[in-house]
Symmetry: C2
């Protein structure tokens, strides 16, 4: 971290509000400075605005001028499994079979500290190369893998959320751990890592299906003892899982299994939520809790189509993050996540226009499923921060926040992107917010990780794309 004032000059795009609130006038939620200046001090944002207005206040400022790029707040990934880095995209199974066949055998290796360290390193490098600066992570049931996760984050000075991932059934005997051990190890890890540097600790029952009443009670105890911690888990991902769950936990719906143990509230995130009922959405909204939408994963495992327009219903708007869910998600890039999220939204749109079944007709919900570039990039930045309860620290370029950002090259990606973009803007690049938003849509639909040219953490460059290969290295 540097003690000097640092200036970044370039074209900035960020959000100050939720675009779903502004149907038909989404630009009211966003900010675009074609020639902007971000001033940071010790990694924190000290000033931000049009270059002509801000620069006179800092006459001897050391300025890095980033040209022909769009600078956005760093991407936030709400749902990553660190120990699945190596088995990303494994073949042929839905959730429950996939866990047994591919995932637990690989996660077992994270009992070994050296392997856990290498896995964490690989995962962080993949995420930085994808423009992700903050993520919420699952580790394994082995404390060493949680330790290595936080140590790696600290070395990179990244704001991450994670925790020991508890499971005491529905996994191989060598993988599961007892509720008592989980509670003891979690308490120790919370004391060591929570609020240490930028680290945030989440009490992490893997999913209610893999948690006995004792393990759930351990989570309840931990949350009572450490009320400042986050809670992170899975919910309603796959129809067979939902059926099993209701039987095992003797509850009417999936959410109730977590409510029973006082876990659903602020700072609670459930991953997926594909099969949530309308009533569950209402209860999540009332509890001010969050769901992570993981489109790549939901399609890859064939889990189903998340009801984006329902989650964003103003009558019970829930907090929402988007996530890769690597390794069931097959791409580390949140840009690819937006591609798949757009597609799921459009499939919902067709269902909701009533053309297949007139009883499904809901024009407003259909519209809310259209993932415009405003809604999309809000979800990766300020929306993601809001979902994870870290919007007081990151998510946009507000003064006082921590300076994590991503530098997008809108011309990278598949060959076709350039001629397409020549329809949208001149060679000089975007001059208006609308032009910039159109380029961002091109990036999310035609682009991928190649469009991430640089990734910055606390005002220091942590990743730079190279022409031949994309590598992320330690500072």
């Amino acid at each position: 971290m540097t003690n000097n004032l640092i200036g970044i000059r370039g074209s900035f795009f960020d959000f100050t509000d939720d675009p779903w609130k502004f149907v038909g006038e989404e630009e009211k939620s966003a900010r675009f400075f074609r020639d902007g200046l971000l001033v940071t001090e010790n990694g924190m944002i000290r000033d931000f605005g049009p270059f002509q207005k801000v620069s006179p206040k800092y006459p001897s400022l050391d300025i890095t001028h980033i040209k022909d790029r769009l600078i956005l707040p760093g991407f936030i990934d709400g749902h990553v499994h660190v120990p699945q880095t190596r088995v990303i995209g494994s073949f042929g199974e839905q959730l429950l079979g996939w866990l047994q066949q591919w995932i637990f055998p690989e996660e077992m290796k994270y009992k070994d500290r050296a392997y856990a360290k290498e896995g964490a390193k690989q995962c962080f490098e993949n995420l930085l190369a994808a423009g992700t600066t903050t993520f919420q992570a699952f580790t394994t049931s082995f404390a060493v893998s949680t330790e290595e996760f936080f140590e790696e984050a600290a070395r990179r000075n990244m704001l991450v959320i994670g925790g020991l991932t508890g499971i005491d059934r529905f996994a191989p005997a060598d993988y599961i751990d007892s509720a008592d051990n989980f509670q003891r190890d979690s308490a120790r890890l919370i004391k060591t890592y929570h609020r240490t540097g930028r680290n945030i600790y989440a009490i992490t029952p893997r999913f209610a299906l893999g948690a006995s009443n004792e393990l759930m009670t351990a989570c309840q105890n931990l949350k009572k003892e450490f009320p400042d911690t986050w809670v992170h888990t899975h919910i309603s991902e796959n129809p067979s899982e939902v059926t099993l769950l209701k039987d095992l936990h003797q509850c009417d719906d999936y959410l109730a299994a977590y409510e029973k143990y006082d876990l659903v509230g602020k700072k609670f995130t459930g991953g997926h939520g594909i099969y949530l009922s309308n009533d569950e959405f209402r209860r999540i909204a009332r509890a001010d809790a969050a769901i992570t939408f993981c489109p790549c994963s939901n399609l890859f495992l064939g889990s189903g189509l998340f009801r984006l327009g329902r989650a964003t219903d103003p009558e019970h708007r829930i907090r929402l993050t988007f996530g890769t869910d690597v390794g069931a998600g097959n791409r580390y890039s949140m840009i690819n996540v937006l591609d798949e999220a757009y597609k799921i939204g459009m499939c919902n749109n067709t269902v909701l226009d009533g053309s297949i079944d007139p009883r499904q007709f809901d024009e407003a919900e259909a519209e809310r499923n259209k993932l415009s570039p405003y809604r999309a990039f809000y979800s990766l930045t300020l929306g993601g921060a809001h979902g994870l309860y870290v919007d007081d620290r990151i998510g946009n370029f507000e003064v006082g926040k921590e300076a994590d950002f991503v530098v997008l090259d809108w011309k990278a990606g598949q060959r076709a992107i350039k001629w397409h973009e020549s329809l949208l803007v001149s060679d000089a690049g975007p001059t208006t917010m609308d032009e910039a938003a159109q380029l961002l849509f091109a990036v999310m639909i035609l682009g991928d990780d190649r469009n991430v040219d640089e990734t910055w953490i606390m005002a220091e460059r942590a990743y730079k794309k190279t022409p031949t290969e994309q590598t992320a290295s330690l500072r």
Copy 2:
């Protein structure tokens, strides 16, 4: 084209049969030579087999040794809209609105020969950079754009199928043309281009919804006059479209609109077929006609999930090609098409396991939806050729076929692919067919156009990836 004998040495993977016939023993449909030799003469395959066996027969052969790569038959894209190259991935509409808002205004520009020429060039370059060597194309209702398409194909010596794209309603007045003009222009273009060089002509009514009875009759007349031509169109893509169609053409289902005019038979392809009934599938199978599955497009427009396991039902197995459907498909790479096809298959798999609705349970159909690497790459090569009735000429490395192939670098793509692949094979690369197939699965799920290192047309290299940028240039 060269007159010399040319040898290509490397690791070859191709298919000799349909892997859907060999559930549980798919390797019986494929061929893998870790160290193989392909001998070509004037662009045609003269010999093929293990290097040790074939090379002694050609003592002074000029051999290009391609190392650390997998060589597959060139990819076949069953459904491309050449004049949508520039508006690829346009925002916010289902099929019918999307056509009016984005597509017709762009396609109108192809009335101008210079623009049509530039569009064709861009499209071909994008496809070569994606490893596609043969495709079936829509042009516009303007003859010049069809001419420029075939001229561009001829310059590149590529086997393509395409034709003047007829529409006489449901489009702007400046865009549509009369049935009489369509029949006259099509006849002239067939005489000029069909079977000229590698070109194949397809009578191309855009879709029955945009075709009056007169235009359909013109197609019927053309097919009668030129029975050797192909027929290419759209079918059952979007639920609103299907409803409108049945009303406009007074028929019980979408297929009947084409059957009425004797168009459904060998060499007929309908794009999409998402809402085909079981009865329509049976009639397509009996007619020996084909459907193109366009997963990127079907998701991008929210059209729906193609029933892959139904199309491959042995009781009524239809001919099947896979396609990008650019510009509703948002990626030129057939590798990305496989990613999305896998996901649609897995979503179908969940529906068919009966966990949502027990009445949907069909174990065999659920299984057929699992897109293994064998099924996937078969569909892009021999399967695609079979679907397009060109499997006598391309699709695998059989002696006598035309030598179009793609050279895959399995290590390219997003950063995560390498560590994943280190689980599958050693640094020396795949030594068995199973290892090669596992790498191909990694490529289709974690990779993209970056994995295409070279594309060869008739034994000449037409594309080579560069580190900084992927460009395809004329030979």
